[in-house]
Symmetry: C2
Subunit: 402 residues, 2 copies
Amino acid sequence: MPVSSGIGRRRFLAGAAGLAGLGVGAGVTAGGAAALRPAPTECTFGSETVDFHGDHQAGVTTTPPAHVTYVGVDLVPGANASVLGGILGIWTDDAARLTQGRPSLSDAEPELARLPARLTVTVGIGERVFTVADKEKLRPTWLRPLPAFGIDKLDPKWGQTDLLVAICSDDPMTVAHTVRVMVNAVRTRIRVRWVQRGFRESRGAQADGATMRNLMGQVDGTVQPDSSLHDSLIWDDGSAQPWFAGGTSLVLRRIAMDLDGWAELDRRGRELTVGRRLSDGAPLSGTSERDDPDFTAIKNGLPVIPASAHVARARRTGDRDRFLRRAYNYDDPPNGAAISDSGLLFAAFQRDIDAQFVPVQRRLAEHDALNEWTVPIGSAVYAILPGVREGEVLGSALHERP
Amino acid sequence: MPVSSGIGRRRFLAGAAGLAGLGVGAGVTAGGAAALRPAPTECTFGSETVDFHGDHQAGVTTTPPAHVTYVGVDLVPGANASVLGGILGIWTDDAARLTQGRPSLSDAEPELARLPARLTVTVGIGERVFTVADKEKLRPTWLRPLPAFGIDKLDPKWGQTDLLVAICSDDPMTVAHTVRVMVNAVRTRIRVRWVQRGFRESRGAQADGATMRNLMGQVDGTVQPDSSLHDSLIWDDGSAQPWFAGGTSLVLRRIAMDLDGWAELDRRGRELTVGRRLSDGAPLSGTSERDDPDFTAIKNGLPVIPASAHVARARRTGDRDRFLRRAYNYDDPPNGAAISDSGLLFAAFQRDIDAQFVPVQRRLAEHDALNEWTVPIGSAVYAILPGVREGEVLGSALHERP
């Protein structure tokens, strides 16, 4: 899913225009009056697109834009493979158009499709869909409810749904429009169960590639599988279910943060809880964010990173127990006497939930100093369908006649 | 409230670094390997600040950033001028720090204060506060409930509160952090009644200065009072209430959009409803967005802009019936069978609500073709306090002993 090749040039022109508008750099422009005008933004990234077609759906290993909306929907009673096929056919077509900055066929607000800003649309299906479509034999074995974890306080409000659409863009207008178009186009066949909106630092607010922070103030998501491992750790190779080659799995957990309690902890306590410095995310044993944590480091007779620290509990113990994290913050209006309702929309992508996600989550559930201030309140599991070529429909093995 | 002078240089450096990273422009960098790296964002605007101190509060005539959160809070029972003074003292100090990229005194997450991204904090007070503070004589005459309009279907959920904080930034993380800090700091003295989150196109998604679009797809907010009129139309001059010189008023209306109904209207019908082209916001009588609408233009014997069109009904009839509009879109999770809960957080700033806002709103309530698809569901009115100099506290006339 490379960013489309047309972008480099557009970005160059946008960048050059930006500098010219600023009138800075003697060799770039003559300056003068232009320098006195209010400074324009140096970039216009609205036209940037991410390819829709390919072996894999976009929105998994592609760079996370600033905004996400996850929409969880259920099929209407009586739905079957044909209804599913109708939905996936429309969604495939909508996504192919909207991600490239073109309105959908039924787009009521075509002007709102003109700034994709790295829009991606990612479609996942829940366990029940295999029953509805009468395709039980095609279900990946890991697509089933997660085991119960002692730390969970799950609210069914944020629970498993039949289908998931994840919509990401650097522009919240584009996200809102895309959600509206895609849900509207299939509204007689589905029912919206929940909508979860998340965000990170805005595109352009800081240097590109900086790791996000969560609302507890922590640098969040430093350790990720190298792209050379995506084929072994993330993408299914079709060995168990040939139709699923190029797909992956998503565990979406809504994790509430107790910011009131967290505020009572001093900085040292916070850093020992996570195992990383708050200032820059460096492991307590190191000096910069990307340093490997040294869990054997001792200072004054004590481990520099406590064994109970989040990074110590989350670290992999073998080659398999790791996954791609793609978290976003949420901050919804509070209820009752609370002053905030904040947390993390934690998304984990992996080839095999049982082999990769569950062992890590078990360790964290057993013991993780961070558990004191975080509570999983929502959880759902989806098969992220393989990518499609032009003319193909997502998940066709599930809805086309054999 | 000029953008601080340090920004030009920071932006220049950021812009230059962006171009260097792209490896484009023979005279800028040698190119080579750098050109092959993923394209970085050309701009980093996170460090941009808007002055807090001045004759007026920021967040009124300053450029609207991409995100807003309005927080409406009530004073706890038994509150008095002293309690009010405590709140305003803390908020003044918090805002002075946070808007300049510095943590508040009680900041639990100081790292989240480092990217103000044009953060502004704007404080308003509702009518009841003058009673609570025993300062009835200081109340501006226009600070009272709006007259009832026939189009309103007001939900008390979004109604009048004692205090308002409007927090704007180009970064949603910064907005979330600022809301949390400012509410938390006064939590024993207030109760949060509502939180309303809004957005526009992201900073940098399109050319700077482009007028926003709303979720009906319309270019929204083209006609605004020229800055030369701000002193006469927006800022109070203290002639009626000397303490209020430099203040203004805010009418905040939550306007729900019937996007389902709107979708049934064809493009021509939509354009006649508003009086502007959907493609670029040009009046139907003109060719570009900034053209003055010509309400006398006739084509084929019919008015080019119908007398019922929104722009025809909203146009000023004299020198006074106009105000500064500063709208944001909202898009909240839908309830029940609805597929979206979308609309506009419509903010109108003017010196005198009775003389400026009410006449226009009356005309629109009487007749406006757009009313068919828009419903005001929330309404509140605030006195936006005058600005302060360093060391002063917002609204001191209301809480300091005479």
